[in-house]
Symmetry: C2
Subunit: 207 residues, 2 copies
């Protein structure tokens, strides 16, 4: 096995270890030595891969970004198969929260955490997500020949509502998740119909 591959491999081990440890205590209460211990590697080895814990954190945030993009892609694919937009999106989202819980915790925990570089990186990641949703909403509006006014506002509201439900889902036992999803779907529909109605009123005012 080549040296680059080996290095990449232990790097991955470290990332996985950190991700695993986040589950039981956030990123803030997470020590370099814990990570190396969990990874089965000497403390000094850490410095061959990251200069800092903050550096590791930024690598984790890259993973979050990747996750969100995969999430979007998967949702779009399934929507084009099934048709029902909201319900399918919510389904995909909840599946992701269940299986990538730790990344999710990172995303929402460090958004308020101490480290400024984390906060801005994560906020940027979230903004990108909102933008993509905005574009989707725009396309949908064109397709259905309606208007949502400024779709970015609806998108922002939807993202807030969805992620809030995501947090709640993190420690909701599986069987009560269905309930949670039904509420979430209603909330999203509220926002969308509200946006449509308000857009129509504004249109009427202008004409």
């Amino acid at each position: 096995m080549t040296r680059r591959e080996r290095k990449a491999q232990t790097r991955r081990t470290l990332i996985e270890a950190a991700l695993c440890l986040i589950e039981g205590g956030g990123f803030a209460g997470l020590s370099l030595r814990e990570v190396t211990r969990q990874a089965g590697v000497a403390p000094a080895t850490f410095y061959r891969h990251f200069s800092d814990m903050e550096d590791l954190g930024l690598a984790l945030i890259d993973e979050v970004g990747l996750m969100l993009r995969q999430l979007m892609r998967k949702a779009r694919k399934r929507i084009s198969e099934t048709g029902s937009v909201t319900r399918t999106s919510v389904n995909v989202f909840m599946e992701f929260v269940q299986s990538n819980g730790n990344l999710f915790r990172l995303l929402l925990g460090e958004r308020i955490g101490n480290t400024p570089s984390f906060r801005s990186a994560l906020q940027a990641e979230l903004n990108r997500f909102t933008e993509e949703l905005t574009e989707d909403l725009e396309r949908q509006a064109v397709r259905l020949k309606t208007s949502l006014g400024d779709p970015s506002i609806a998108a922002e509201a939807i993202v807030a509502v969805v992620f809030s439900a995501g947090v709640e889902a993190l420690d909701t036992p599986g069987h009560r998740c269905q309930q949670l999803m039904e509420r979430l779907i209603l909330e999203i529909r509220m926002i969308l119909t509200g946006a449509a109605v308000m857009a129509k009123k504004n249109q009427a005012k202008i004409e």
Copy 2:
């Protein structure tokens, strides 16, 4: 000065110290010694007031609850003076976020954090907030002789949207906060009109 008063006073000092330190690094990365140092008190003194850091944390969470209740009361009072519900509420909320930033950080940071007892306590606090908002919405609907269907769903959505904006406001410079608030107001109106329209449709179906 009586002994009880003295004790209560240093207890307060410890709480204030913790609150002050949270600003620069969340609750998780916060050591007992740091708190006592900031409070100007010997480390051992801590144990005369709290058994644990977790114990201190729970005391802080009580403060959060107090803050939220004050928030509600103040909003109601101002609403009865001015009339405009949404705009006034958002104003009051944002003022609170600006002046009680650290409590806010605690509320939203530890909702996902490591400590299970924190999570549940904070979720309970948030739920109480949502409930009160639900009742307010109900009263408003009666007064305006309209219906929002199940107002608890709209309330949940509004809370999500408002707190999400609160997080963003935490490190938004004052002059851009106005923009943020305008968006927030639009989002809330969306949810409310959406809820009203959907309730009307459902009503029509039943009749």
